[in-house]
Structure formats: C-alpha cells, structure tokens
Amino acid sequence: MKFAKLILLLLTLQLAGAQELLTLPGDSPLIDVRVQFEVGSIDDPEGKEGLTCLTALSLSEAGTEKKSYQDLLATFYPWAVSVDTTVGKEMVTFSATVHRDHLDEFKEVFTEMLTEPTFSQKDLDRLREKARNYLTQDLRVNNDEELGKETLYLQIYPRIHPYGHHNFGTVSGLEAVTTDDLRTHYRSYFRPERMTIGLAGGYPQEFPKELAAGLSVGLASAVELPSRPSISQPASPDGRRFTIVEKDTRSVAMSLGFPIEVNRSHPDWAALFLFRSFFGEHRSSTSHLYQRLREARGLNYGDYAYIEYFPNGMYLTQPEPNYPRSQQIFQIWIRPVQPETALFTLRATFFELEKVLREGLTEQQFEATRSYLKKNAPLLVASGSRELGYALDSKFYGSDPFVERLRNDLDKLTVDEVNRALRKHLQADNIEIVLVSKDATQLREELTAQRPSPMEYNSPKPQEILEEDNVIQSYPLKLGEIRIVPVNELFR
C-alpha cells in the first residue's frame, strides 16, 4: 500500500537540461507525479492577467497536437487518472496519481500533454469561460467567505504589485488573451530550466530519468529566459481600512489582515506558526478565537487565523501544498455572522487580538499548542501525494522536510520567543478589514456612529462573559477609511 512507505529517501538531483528531480521512492503501487514550473500569476503581462492560468490549463485540460481533449479523457478514464493544476502566485504545479499498471502509457500521454499542446481557439474559449466564471460566479455569487478572503488580498496588494490580481487573472485580462499569447507564454516559461519533477511511490528505477528526458527534450526552448518581477513587501495599511463588499446576502462575512515579512524560510516562522495554531487553528474547536466567539457566544460557525495563503478553506481540513509565496499575510477569518451581531463580533475580534498581543501566550498555552503541533504534523503528510507536495514547498523555501523541520524548530522554541515574535511581526492598528454585507451604507453608518453594540443572548451567560461583553460592546474600533465596493466591481 501507498502509505507503507518504509524508506523515506529524499533525493534532489541536478540533471542535464538543468531541471531538477525530487524523489521519494517507496514500495507503493501508486505513483504520485508532480511537475512544477517556476511561473505564476506574477508573470502575467499587464492587461493579460490570467495568461499563466490559461496557459497551464491549456496543458492539463485541453488537446495536444495528436489528441483532442476528448481523446485524452477517454484514455485516462479506465485508469481513473486526472491531471490537476495548481496555479499560484509564483509556481504552477501539475499533479497526478497513477497505478503502476499504467505508468509507462501515462508517461507517454502526460509528456505529450506538457510538450505538444495545440492551443486551439475552441479549448481557449472553454477554459477562459471556466476561469471567468470562477471569478464572476464562484467568488462573486456563490461563496461570501472565499470572496472576502480574496478581496482582502487585493486590498493588501495594490494592482501594481505582482501579487495585485487573483491567481486566475481578471475578467478583462482573461478576455484579452489570444492563442498566440498562450504559445509565447508557454515557450518563455514552461521549460526545463524552470521545471522540477517530483515523484513518490514504487516506480521503476529508470522511470524518473526517462520522464525527465522526455520532458526536457520536448520543452527545450530557444527563447530568451524572461526575468521575473521582484516581489517586495507591500506597505502596511495606514490605520484600520475597511472595505465593505456589497451584495445580496443573509449574513456578514469577515476577513482581516496585513502583510508580514515571515514565510517558511524566516527564522520566526515556527514561532508564528505556533501562535496562529493557538489563536485560530484551521477548523479546530480547540483554538482561542473559536472558543471565545463561537463556543462561548454562538456568534457564528468558526473563527480562524493564518500566516500562509490557504484557498478553499471551507472545503478542506488541511492546507493544499504547492502555493509557495515569498510574501505572506497574517489573516483572521471570521465566518458569517448575523447582521445584528456584526459590530459586536468585529469588536470582539479586535479585543482578542489586542489582548493576546499585550499579554502573550502563557507557558501552559504554549506547551499545549506545541504538543498538538508535534503530534499533528505527521497527519499533514499522511499520503504520498501530500508528502511530495510538501517536499516541493520545502525546496522552494530552502528548508528541511516539513515534519522534521517543524519538530526541530518546536523543540528549540520557548514561550518567550513566541511572544517576542508575535509582538515583532503582528499588530492590530494597521490592518485591512473586508466585510461582505447586504446593506453596505447602513453598515458604514453603524461603524461610524461608534455607538455601543451590546449583545443579547438567547440564554443566561456566565458573569465572566457578561463583564467582558461590557468592555467589548464599546471597544474602540479605531476607524480609518471606509470604502464600499459593489461586488460586480471586483476582479474586473
């Protein structure tokens, strides 16, 4: 079985053609393949935002010179194989899991997909519609929470920043992409010099080299290597800046955050990783914010904190690998609340954030979180595919394998170091706040009126909560700029 990977051997080889090979050999009949290119939405040309996304999809979800997309689907169908695409800010990753029975045939077809794309107008039209509808339907219409999170990123990274548009592009940028653009972008960026091949499982010994050879011959390009934009840390927001996204909805979704200099290669990463787990571990009832907002007060369904990009959090219990980023933000995700409790919830969030920044973690809170993370870390890489994904991310950040690195760092960490790191990197005064709400004007008035927002509960509460509520209901919001954005103006 796949998970019976007894040998955990991590090899990084530099092969001819300059591409890299990262292997996790094991004895599983299932082979995980991840091919990653150093290209992402930061490489989209101005006015063609979405070009990277459409180019990547043209490889994984469209026809080749020899086969239509229908033919490819028919080939993969009996093998139960699909090629998935992850388009991030800085990397594009294609991944598949294949049974050993089909590995050689898969290698041929997969190589053909990556090296002989046809870039037909018909495929482009379909993929463009898919990407555009993700922005205009799946984000604007279907999912207030993901909408709030992606809007937060757009507020933090201005349009001129390389991170200043969604990974899938913009509606107008997608519209402008032609099949010629796809060809040019492909030749410039999808090439051996910028490729890492990752493999896990019980593949034959010669397989990695054979796959690498086929891909590097097919992808060889004489075009000059384009330089990539430098990615600077954006300016911190000036004060507390509110963006109210107006749309017809029952409740109010909230996301708050600001840029941080810490990513996985930073010495303070483990300290902040531990802090965010204590304060708001993803989908976990044991974390602090969840306890205070949901458990004690029933304000919503959950409340979490992040130091790394984590799309689709509502569908996932664990983050998907392969969204590595040089720049990250600290983020708080407050799940939708009833409109009448929105102001109180916002105040309670700031109350908790300021309190923890002021007081820090106690020794006991620190130890409990450390114990959790040390035991929970192996669960994050419990399948070969995930382990391979994490290994690629470690390569990007130049860090040791994830579990080993996290456990080593945690062993050395002290509560004082965590508290020092959180005071150094986190704060509550310069922050973007995104609220997705129905009546934006009314919400703005409620915010600016600065009136107390007392809570009314449907049941008796402990004295401790009532006393805290007394403070929270008038807690200073320290309002900065407040903007209202109709939902249809986003991602344009």
């Binding site: 998970f3 999809l57 049974h99 029975d101 799946d138 990974n167 909805t249 989908r283 114990s371 035991k375």
Partner: protein
C-alpha cells in the same frame, strides 16, 4: 486552476468542525464510495483490506478492525445509523445534524475545556458529519493515545451532559452554518428538489433542515434528550478502526470502554412515500445575479435493491462521466454549460439520481432542460458497448486502489458503506453485484427508472434577468 477551486466538490476529504452534509459536498463521499469498488470486479475475491475483522459485542455494538502497516497512525470512525431520514416529527428537520454538534458539549468526566485539552495534547484531528441515513464521528491520531481517545468517546456516547444555556448557544452555531452555505444557489436547489420530489418521506428535507425549524432549535432542549435516548444506543452504532492495530487486542480495548453501553428499543416509524405518478417541476427566482442552473432528478432504487442499485451506479458513471456524450456536447463542443454535476447516492430508501448543470448562455435554459431530460429518458435505447462497460469497471477498480493511500481514507470509505448495512459481507455483496452488471441490465434499469412520472426538475434564474 487552482483549478482545485473549480473542482471543490471532488476534493474535500472530511470536515473538522461538526458539519451537515449537503448533496453537493457529498460528491466527495460518492467518490469515496467509488474508491471502494471491487478491485476484482470480474472475480469473486473480496475487496476488503486483508485482515479486516468484525465482532459484535453483547450490547449489540458492532466493532470492525482493519489492520494496516502504517506505523503509529490510527483512524477511528463511530458510525451512527441515524440521520435526517429519522426526523419524522413536525418541526424537527435537521435535528440529527444539530445533535451531532451537541455530541461535542462534553460530559461530567470530560467537561468541554478538559476534552479540548486532552484532544489538543494528543494532536488529534477530529470531526463529524451528518447526512440522510447516518452520522459519523471521526478522528485520526497516534496509536499511543488509543486508550485515552476510546475512554473519551465511550464516555460521551454514554454519558453526554450539557445544560440549556450551552444548548441554546450551540443552536446559534447551526444557524451560522446555514448562513455560510446560503450564498450558494445549488444548496437552495437541492433543498427545493427534495421538497418537490417527496411528499411524506423525510427525504423531503435536506440534512441541514428547513430554516424555520433551525430558528426554533433553541426551544428544543428537552427534545434533544429524547433524541439522545432513542438513537445513541449500541444497536445503532458501528465502531470502525483502521491502522496500526492487532484486531484481538483492539476488540478487547473497545469492549473495556464500550461494554457498559446500554441498548435501547426505539425504532422510528418512517412514512412511506407513495409512488410518484407524474412529472414535477419547481423554479427558484434567485435574488442576486447568477448564471442559471437546471437540476433534473429521477426516483432511484434504494440500497437494498442491490442489483438495480449496482446497475444504476454503473449507468450513472457511464452516461454522465466526462467521456459521456452529454458532457462532451454541452461542455466541450457547444460550451453552453460550464458546471456539470451528476449525482447518485446510495440511500436506505428510494432517493434520487440526476444531474445539475450551470448554463453559460441564459437564453438556452429551456433547450438544455430538454436535452438533459432526453439524455435520461432516451437512454433506454442507448447502445452501451461491452468495451464501455469494461472501461467503467476498470475505472472503478483503479479508483478503489487509489483510495488506499492512508488509514483515514480507508476508514471513511468503509464507514459510509457500514452506515448503510453494518456488515463487511454486505460490502462484498454490493461489489459483486457491480461486477455482474451487464449491458442488458443497464437498459432495463434506465427503462424502468427514467420515465416522466419519476422526474422532478428544478430551475434557478436570477430575479433580475
């Protein structure tokens, strides 16, 4: 694209905070189910992982242990055969799911803070989900914490304790859950589809329940204890463990902690849905801007009708896969549809099989509705080659093998099947039925289920359009 975003319904794997399961999010369980399909579809060999063993304790609790060679990891699933199907009383729709939340409210020995502390110290990944026929509590942890976890689980299943104030607060979290789902038009469509297709059976409401009932939950404290007393009994439960385990030892430890659980006597009298006699239709005017959707469903065989269900499963995989002609025409060729979501779920009683599509061209709503209906109702004459049938069986086989990649995924696949029929043998029976499916059988099943009198159509359009 982050294509994962677009394919979200096919990738989620388990939920953390207690959650109800919509038909949409259950796509993933159906995929999980596919993963289980017989690895030897053409033979009589068992698909079950080698060494799987079952024991029934004296109190009626069924215990299933599946040893794997994953060092240190254990996945635990406690499967309760109670879900929204059992909500027979007026005003109580969604209560099984609400109750799932209450199971996290603690006991005398493990008040919530202490339980959280214990689970946190053990690094446990823990959650639960509820659907029509089942409620499943699942955890993954390291073997060294097995006894501590079983002690906690046994205590809450036997000695749950919460007071009315916490109960009322938890009711608000469920409303928050409804709110977070409500922006999505397909959530509403499934709600209306079930309500339209069923008149008296409890499948007329979704697992989340009607909003007006959810708003009344805070008043239901006493009823919640009736619910616990009725259903949280060993005869409704199957305890499944997968991982670094030795079955005999595992049975002993389970017996030690769960042996004192007292059986009950309650059986819900479920209303019998009369046979549908004519096509039904409903329309939703959506308040905000959206592309239109069409959802077409037909009454489908229950799990107990093994051969029909197996044929329906194969048929759905054949007709509505990405290699099927309808997908290729609407999505790839004409590009008038961009979301294409077939559904067929194994259920205890007659439920629905169907297809939901989102249109990129609003003017084609009627046309697409007709074409989807035709795709179902004209398949009686559809030629299914034996090669296509072999392809789908091969797909099912390799999907199954792909599912064996961690104790957690083996456990969630088995748990779903055990929730329908709590025996390992029944799983083999089902997959044997799949392996027997012939092209003639596919035509027969299509002919008897895809008739106008079994059809329910729901359309959704933006009000402003």
């Amino acid at each position: 694209m982050d294509v994962k975003g677009l394919l979200r319904t096919e990738q989620a794997e388990g939920f953390l905070a207690p959650e109800s399961v919509s038909m949409l999010t259950m796509k993933m369980l159906k995929l999980g189910l596919l993963l289980l399909f017989l690895s030897t579809l053409s033979g009589a060999e068992s698909l079950l992982p080698p060494g799987a063993q079952t024991k029934v304790l004296e109190n009626g609790l069924k215990v299933v242990v599946v040893p794997t060679d994953t060092k240190d990891l254990v996945a635990l699933q406690i499967v309760m055969a109670v879900g929204s199907r059992n909500e027979v009383e007026e005003g109580k729709s969604g209560f099984a799911h609400f109750f799932e939340h209450l199971m996290f409210r603690g006991t005398k020995r493990y008040p919530p803070e202490q339980a959280e502390e214990m689970l946190k110290a053990a690094g446990v990944s823990s959650n639960a989900w509820t659907w029509d026929d089942q409620t499943v509590y699942h955890k993954v942890f390291l073997k060294e914490d097995l006894e501590a976890i079983l002690d906690y689980e046994a205590d809450r299943f036997m000695n749950l304790e919460y007071q009315e104030p916490e109960f009322r607060t938890e009711a608000l979290a469920v409303l928050g859950e409804y709110n977070k789902n409500s922006a999505n038009p397909t959530e509403k469509m499934y709600e209306v589809l079930q309500d339209t297709a069923f008149d008296v059976h409890t499948y007329e409401h979704t697992t989340m329940g009607f909003l007006e009932d959810i708003e009344q939950y805070p008043e239901g404290y006493d009823y919640s204890w009736t619910f616990f007393d009725r259903f949280y009994r060993p005869e409704y439960a199957t305890l499944l463990m997968v991982g670094d385990l030795e079955p005999e030892n595992a049975f002993q430890v389970v017996e030690q902690y769960f042996g004192a659980w007292q059986p009950g006597s309650y059986k819900a009298e479920l209303p019998v849905e009369p046979e549908q006699t004519e096509p039904r239709k409903a329309h939703i005017d959506w308040e905000s801007s959206t592309l239109p959707w069409v959802m077409v469903g037909y009454k489908a065989p229950p799990y107990s009708a093994l051969d029909d269900t197996a044929a329906m499963q194969v048929w759905e995989s054949l007709a509505f896969s990405q290699t099927g002609s309808l997908y290729q025409e609407l999505v790839l060729e004409e590009q008038i549809v961009d979301e294409f979501q077939p559904f067929f779920f194994l259920k205890k009683d007659v439920f629905l099989v169907g297809l939901a599509v989102r249109l990129t061209d609003p003017s084609k709503l009627d046309e697409v509705e007709d074409r989807v209906i035709r795709a179902f109702e004209s398949t009686k004459e559809l030629e299914i080659t034996s090669q296509r049938l072999e392809d789908v069986k091969s797909r099912i086989r390799y999907s199954f093998l792909q599912g064996l990649d961690s104790p957690a995924s083996i456990a969630s696949n088995l748990a779903f099947m055990l929730s329908l029929e709590p025996s390992l043998e029944s799983i083999d029976d089902f997959y044997a039925a799949i392996s027997r499916v012939t092209t003639d059988q596919l035509s027969e099943v299509a002919g008897s289920y895809f008739r106008p009198q079994g059809r329910t159509v729901v359309t959704l359009k933006s009000k402003e359009s």
